[in-house]
Point group: C2
Chain length 338, copies 2
Amino acid sequence: MTSTMKDLAQATGLGLATISKYFNGGTVREKNRLLIEDAVKRLHFAPNEVARSLKTRQSHVIGVVIPELSNAFITSIISTMEDLLRQRNYAVIVCDCRSDARQEKQAVEFLLHRRVDGLINMPTDPSGAPLRPAVEADVPVILVDRLIPSLEGQVSAVVIDNVRAAEKATETLIASGHRRIGLVLGDPGLYTTDCRMQGYLNTLKAAGIAPDPRDISYGNYTMNGGYQAVQGLMARKDRPTALFITNFEMTLGGMLALQRSGIRVPEDVSVIGFDKLDTFGDVFPHLTLIHQPQNIIGRECASLMLDLLSDSHAVPHRVVTLATQFTKGTSVRSIKGD
Amino acid sequence: MTSTMKDLAQATGLGLATISKYFNGGTVREKNRLLIEDAVKRLHFAPNEVARSLKTRQSHVIGVVIPELSNAFITSIISTMEDLLRQRNYAVIVCDCRSDARQEKQAVEFLLHRRVDGLINMPTDPSGAPLRPAVEADVPVILVDRLIPSLEGQVSAVVIDNVRAAEKATETLIASGHRRIGLVLGDPGLYTTDCRMQGYLNTLKAAGIAPDPRDISYGNYTMNGGYQAVQGLMARKDRPTALFITNFEMTLGGMLALQRSGIRVPEDVSVIGFDKLDTFGDVFPHLTLIHQPQNIIGRECASLMLDLLSDSHAVPHRVVTLATQFTKGTSVRSIKGD
DNA sequence: TTGAAAGCGCTAACAC
DNA sequence: GTGTTAGCGCTTTCAA
């Protein structure tokens, strides 16, 4: 069925090497070029990437290991990354490890066996153990969204400035006179959770406000979790006058909880939410938001990977820290007493 | 760096073929097995899947082409599919074609060049043109979620019974006395849109209710779209007494619109929504729902593909139609007059 | 510029 | 059971 370069050589009367050169950007006599192009059409030839991979020792495949495919933030990043990579003829194999460190390890091994040229990983295991074999095999690794201290200098990374983002949100709230700020976080122990909490605490401290543990709630980065967390925070008598919710799903859930309890934003409580995602659109157009530029993160990953691939040893590993964006809405009300 | 079977042969003093057989489930003398296993450890050997692919003419890669990675319904399916496939040592290359037929065509070609063993496609182009090359190359194709009439018999498919699902929802509403039922659909012309509308119309007709075009609204399958559609439907004086919203994002948006306008469910309007998705959890626990079993769809795709792969010519192409599930909540109120 | 030939790492006859 | 050998389809010296 499928024809090979050998067939092309035969059909054109040219040598195998000439055909190969034609496909790899070498100079071929005009006459022969035409000859080849004609034969390609007639024989429906398409180069066999597998054979090429074997020979060049480059699979032109990038492995992507993530904790959860069903997460809009993640897919949003992968989507632009995949697009860019594919344009450069790199395929992306995605492995969803369901936030399980063992599965993550297996996924990396699976990909290594397939001789991926590079690995992009939003890590589940904070120890970095699953990535060890990749580092040893000298396969370039890019961490996304979460850093792994023990791998410093051995891998690249693309993250956002979580601490600064949380500081910004908290500062904004404090500047509006709020002193009791509810914080809704993801799971404790997660890199982003810790950073965002840190930013919150930094700012509170700087403002001379003693943090109240009851104002901090964990919503598991899910819509349901956000719903419950906000409900819990707002059920108290001395409830916060403002909320900072630190991811998209939880923001959605939190807003829903507020609406359902008849708590108005910003009249009854000020809110700063997190992230914007295309499929969900602007259902809360008035919301003040911190958001991560998913497309830039994706683009950065892709180009960083392409860089590393072009010259793995010349390019030192680096950590790209991206700023978050701030969208001012009308969900924060000033309660400054004066 | 990486060692080869040749290295193993050398290290063990065995022949290449024995090593190969060991890895392919052949019988090897106990003593030699140990010898090999020891060498594998020492040399960190892992079979080169690329070379294997070249030889066996099986890439052990499945290509997946979808209209949008940032869609929770789609990723939910892919997630279970990928899991199952990877367990069987198949890798999944995902291509997001951004609902663009030209990109879809390119994606299929891209995958074909990489010699994927099979293709799973949630088609954007209803003509089936992008898949033609795959069919001609005898690469098994599975359509998901949407059928393509012109490809009948040449490809397999996994879909849900959209017509029946919409009938069920509409019937439920009618049985509760509703005669004015707002319908929120995806883009016109999409397979699922058409089917769901058909089910709605069938049921209305059977009940002797003349459909009112003003009760049908298109929400683009997005949260924003659902928000606006519901808002539009409910803004009318003679607004519907019930709504059937036909996907997850739109249901979310629609519910939000209702909450924000202070329209109570089910007191002021009855609602049947669509789909459940894990990351979003049960934020509307009281909602009556039609939902598609994403995990079953994914599993069905994976096993169908494995079937086709095991014996491509013996297994005829087939269309698997899955029933949707119905979750009765309390969002439908009976307004039967008596 | 072109062609002949070697070989990437593996599998599968085939003979032992 | 095991080893020898011939490719899979391609790239890449090296000579012409």
